[in-house]
Symmetry: C2
Subunit: 263 residues, 2 copies
């Protein structure tokens, strides 16, 4: 039922990064995209992070073994989906964030939080894929690319704090006597929170930032997985926003510039 572009979720705007692409290469890339999109569609339809190779093939009007021309096995496709999902989440967050000026870190955090939540709710399977428990039979084979993708997504939140610091608008966070996590910003470590251009960040601010993310993630993941279904949907929206406002306040972020912030 979907032998058309379908969604093109990931393959949205990639104009012509590889102008030298033979006919075959283009066809192959298109098939790869179709496989990924079909997998995503099936995941959405069935509401799980699982998918059957044979289902994908059936959906595409192919036989299952043909898919092995494109992916060595199920795990390789899964890895690709994970990398794409990180990139997608990061892009979604960054886009919303950048709609507000740099000197409004409060508003920007709010935008980031809402984008994070919106993405998670709209793509709960992909959200679970990247930030939930590792999928059943899967053990990240290409450790590097996944880590790199995760790092890219997390940087979007981080840069917001760096901007705020440079602008001097970051209040002292409420994190009194916060213990200094040893690795806070020891350069060179390839952890996802590690920027290459890390300015000084106090232990308190580092924790405040982490607090923002974990609190944001906690509400979002519970909601995305249906564990807050007992709250009416419209109430959830308001509760989330209030939560984020409290978190931002604790982190020392100034309130959003323009009060009208409910997209």
């Amino acid at each position: 039922m979907a032998d058309e572009p379908i969604d093109a979720t990931v393959a949205d705007d990639r104009p012509a990064e590889q102008p030298a692409m033979s006919r075959r290469e283009r066809a192959r890339a298109a098939t790869v995209d179709e496989i990924k999109n079909t997998a995503l569609q099936l995941m959405r339809e069935q509401g799980t992070t699982d998918f059957r190779f044979s289902d994908i093939a059936r959906h595409m009007g192919m036989t299952a073994p043909a898919l092995y021309r494109y992916f060595a096995d199920r795990d390789e496709l899964l890895t690709q989906l994970i990398v794409d999902a990180f990139a997608d989440l990061g892009a979604a967050v960054a886009e919303e964030r950048d709609r507000l000026p740099k000197d409004d870190p409060g508003g920007r955090f709010f935008a980031v939080a809402q984008a994070y939540r919106r993405w998670a709710l709209g793509e709960s399977q992909r959200f679970a894929l990247i930030l939930g428990m590792p999928v059943p039979g899967y053990a990240a084979p290409d450790e590097g690319s996944v880590t790199e993708a995760a790092r890219g997504a997390m940087i979007e939140l981080k840069s917001l704090f760096f901007d705020a610091i440079e602008l001097g608008v970051l209040r002292e966070p409420r994190f009194r006597d916060a213990p200094d996590p040893v690795c806070r910003f020891t350069a060179g470590r390839d952890d996802p929170m590690q920027p290459d251009d890390a300015p000084a960040l106090s232990a308190e601010t580092f924790q405040a930032m982490l607090h923002c993310w974990t609190a944001l993630h906690g509400f979002t993941s519970l909601e995305a997985y249906g564990h807050l279904d007992w709250l009416p949907a419209d109430a959830r929206e308001g509760i989330f926003e209030t939560n984020m406002r409290v978190v931002a306040d604790a982190a020392g972020l100034p309130p959003p510039a323009n009060a009208a912030n409910s997209a």
Copy 2:
């Protein structure tokens, strides 16, 4: 299917609640427990929420079809494991909470938070089972029992707030102008946060409580799923505690009575 009590939730310490239990019934109950424990063991060993019926049988020196004498299918076993996990988490939290006096809600919340985290880290698969994304092919068949179990676990955190209110030690939370979630405490609704003896709870306090849980859950789940592995383990501990202190403060809970609270 469920033609017997089966239950035997965790079957740890159940002295003799059913003295009238024939030899066969006892043997059956023991087998059921062994199946469940084997499933848990396999989940732990493989680090996933998935398990193969045939693996369990193999592990027990049986053949797979024999298991169908005890569980109608994989889902029924899964449901049991979920119900058990809720009960277990609730019990673990309640036990730690009750080690501190009722008039120390700050300390109690801290204890609850630590118990929640400890349980999640030690039983990450079961944690994912109950509070992560629904398992692949699973759709809660026995909606009632699962909801009931979830409700029981959540009440442990809630009761702490009610105690604090009754004692009058709950400061005004930092949740200014919090929108009132319609269902906040409209009695009768069978939502998990719904107590039968619900006293009045301001919208702000309700949100504060929810904030405590979601923030706690956010950090915990990220850590349990390995998404905070880039932080040194000992640092995580401290960061968590600081986080929880900030959250408790925002919620209006008083600080813990005795400062020595790092078990």
